[in-house]
Symmetry: C2
């Protein structure tokens, strides 16, 4: 058994406090796994006085995380501060510059600076590990970095944001509106006070950008991710989807195409029998299609203090067992530049919801505009409930396979014909997953 491994931890929020507690509580089990003791010896956080449920008295305290990273008597620097810039970035750089391995749960940091940090780590003959940055407690980084070593990945896709999935699940189960679900999620701590990062799809985009690099051995390119959030999903869409045998999920997809790599995050209608359609609540799930395996699926808790701390612990134990793991699966010098796919519009079926002004000929006109754009319809349903009256009627169209350009043109024409009241709503149908 080697000497103990000394950890310095910066950031004592929910995950940081869970981690500190677990390192104490599971000391013996972690030592047995690691072949050496793992000791928490130094800490940094804004407020020293707060009780976080663990005894910090044996730890050296640093007000400045950069100072902890630079001067702490530590073997590993654990960054749980968060944020792509500022103290998180500076302290991680300081630790790597010193040749210390870094463990982080910081997806934004990785999405923006992952390649630069991996290069710095390589130069300093160390590494940066980040299992907790994507899909919480699901070992997706380890799986992609190590278990799929011999595989060529064709596609990685999944449900990467627990907040969105929680909201969509409740909208579906309880018929609640988007805004009511969001308020509830905020009250229960599943959504931030400013929820834009989650519900706008940006959190999932950060995670996807990291997975893309691991999947295809290319550099991380967050800017190339097409992002559409769930803000515009209405109860009417969820209900219509259910009636048609689909469920709406915020889907993140990265796939190899003829022209490059496509990355997208958007609401999608999945057939209700698809594995991802059944992933409910704050659960995350990731599927990977490869040449050797066909598909594998991993599902589990996407967030939470203990689940995320579990992922951080697995990185720490990996470092303790002495594995030399390049951050992004291969050394950054072996990464190919990211080649963005020509913005290929989604090819497949579309769900279209129109609010149609109720008058003679409207239906015929809509059907004609679809035909003019070579869009063949699988179904067309007027969804006004019995007893409802009004001058507009909700109309749902499900198209057979077509292109996004055709759908957009057709909707524009219908709109110009003066048949619509309000914005049309369009959701991609993903039938291949």
């Amino acid at each position: 058994m080697n000497g103990p491994m000394k950890l310095g931890l910066a950031g004592l929020g929910t995950v940081g406090a869970s981690l500190a507690r677990l390192i104490h509580e599971k000391h013996n089990a972690l030592a047995a796994r690691s072949g050496r003791a793992i000791n928490l010896v130094a800490l940094s956080a804004r407020d020293r006085t707060r009780d976080r449920g663990f005894d910090a008295s044996g730890c050296e305290w640093f007000t400045d995380p950069v100072k902890l990273a630079t001067e702490g008597n530590i073997d590993v620097f654990v960054e749980l501060i968060g944020g792509a810039e500022g103290a998180a970035l500076e302290s991680v750089k300081a630790a790597l510059n010193r040749g210390l391995p870094v463990v982080t749960a910081n997806k934004a940091l990785l999405a923006y600076h992952g390649v630069a940090l991996a290069k710095l780590a390589q130069r300093k003959n160390t590494t940066i590990l980040f299992e907790a940055a994507v899909a919480g407690g699901i070992p997706i980084i380890k799986t992609m970095r190590e278990a799929l070593a011999g595989n060529t990945v064709d596609r990685v896709y999944g449900i990467l944001n627990g907040t969105c999935n929680y909201i969509l699940t409740r909208m579906e189960r309880e018929g609640m509106s988007f805004s009511d679900c969001l308020s509830d999620a905020q009250r229960l701590g599943y959504a931030e006070a400013d929820p834009t990062f989650d519900i706008g799809g940006f959190d999932a985009a950060h995670k996807l950008a990291i997975l893309t690099s691991l999947a295809f051995g290319c550099e991380i390119d967050l800017e190339s991710v097409f992002v559409e959030g769930i803000e515009k999903v209405e109860s009417a869409d969820i209900e219509a989807a259910a009636e048609l045998g689909y469920r709406i999920k915020l889907l993140a997809v990265a796939q190899r195409t003829d022209t490059g790599i496509e990355q997208r995050v958007h609401p999608a209608m999945l057939p209700e029998h698809a594995a991802l359609a059944k992933v409910d609540g704050v659960t995350n799930a990731v599927a990977i299609d490869t040449d050797l395996l066909g598909s594998i699926l991993l599902a589990g808790p996407g967030a939470g203090g203990n689940a995320t701390a579990s992922a951080v612990l697995s990185d720490i134990v990996d470092l303790a067992t002495g594995a030399h793991l390049p951050a992004l699966g291969v050394q950054p010098s072996n990464l190919s530049p990211y080649k963005r796919a020509r913005m290929r519009a989604h090819e497949g079926g579309y769900y279209i919801r129109l609010s149609v002004i109720d008058r003679v000929g409207a239906f015929a006109s809509i059907a004609r505009r679809m035909a003019e754009n070579s869009i063949s319809l699988q179904s067309i349903v007027q969804r006004r409930r019995a007893g409802e009256a009004g001058q507009t009627a909700p109309v749902i169209l499900i198209t057979h396979e077509t292109t996004e350009a055709a759908v957009r043109k057709a909707i524009e024409a219908v709109s110009k014909d003066g048949h619509l009241d309000g914005e049309p709503r369009m959701i991609r149908i993903e039938s291949l997953l």
Copy 2:
């Protein structure tokens, strides 16, 4: 980049041939992942002349795998011979004795000799890795050995035998009989000529015994696994299950109980909405319940040359990156002895199918015997189809939670009353999964 890693491979069946081909085809990608070239330099198989789809001309050939392990100019010994004894065991022991790390896909070898081999490896300061031994291409060993390092596992359970799942899926989808499905599976190469090992549940038991050790940090104890195969599952059971909202799967479960660790493999009725109920065909799936994660689920291909070779490759790359991974997660000196749970009968609901001789009072008598044994019935259905006649009627009972002892006593009493024609059939209902 370090010098190349030289592999010796014994066994060139489906998996061995796939592996050899992939090591050639993916040479550059594997080198990028590993930080060094991975070269296949020595081979051993019974028949040297057969064309296996790769160029073996550069490899040294050994007729005797033990000789390859003992004398080959190799850094890693890969055992794909199969079988718990004989050449597989002797060659693995020879390699470990020489201090060479071993990679194997051999579940029987591990189930019978895993602890002894791990001890030998520890003494020789090397290791034996076996990702491919359980659930084919699903990285379940890596997940349990490394990703769950900080977790306390409460239960591990899943569908571990593709042959059984294939047969049960076809019986369900196509209404075929067990024996027709088995013949088809044999014709298609999904089942062996002697299928006992698979359909009797023994293959799943081997895999479960290995997972149990990784889950609970205890020694492997194959003999303690309760095993019941799928031979007695009839179409009538599958149909009745479907009508009642269940699906029948061969389930493998290891769980911590108050009296020790319980290991069991048997057909089980799972609610159709349960994640494992939806795992079809030759797919495998494993769920793990832990203190920190709640549940995580991994699903993917359980067998096949490429999927299994993919798992072997991941072990090889792990060795190339220099990780010091104890075979069973912790060093064998840290394993606790296996403590067998008191043979706790399954507590939960039961499905019971009786062939009841059709006469006045039979139903009342059955109901009375159940009541006498404190078994409360959720439903009782006579399943004779319209138009069918005969002197016996199939009767399906679904019990509320009870004990196996009570069910056995009640059935025995009904049988003694002279109401039954033929053997009663009993399947555990697992509603907690």
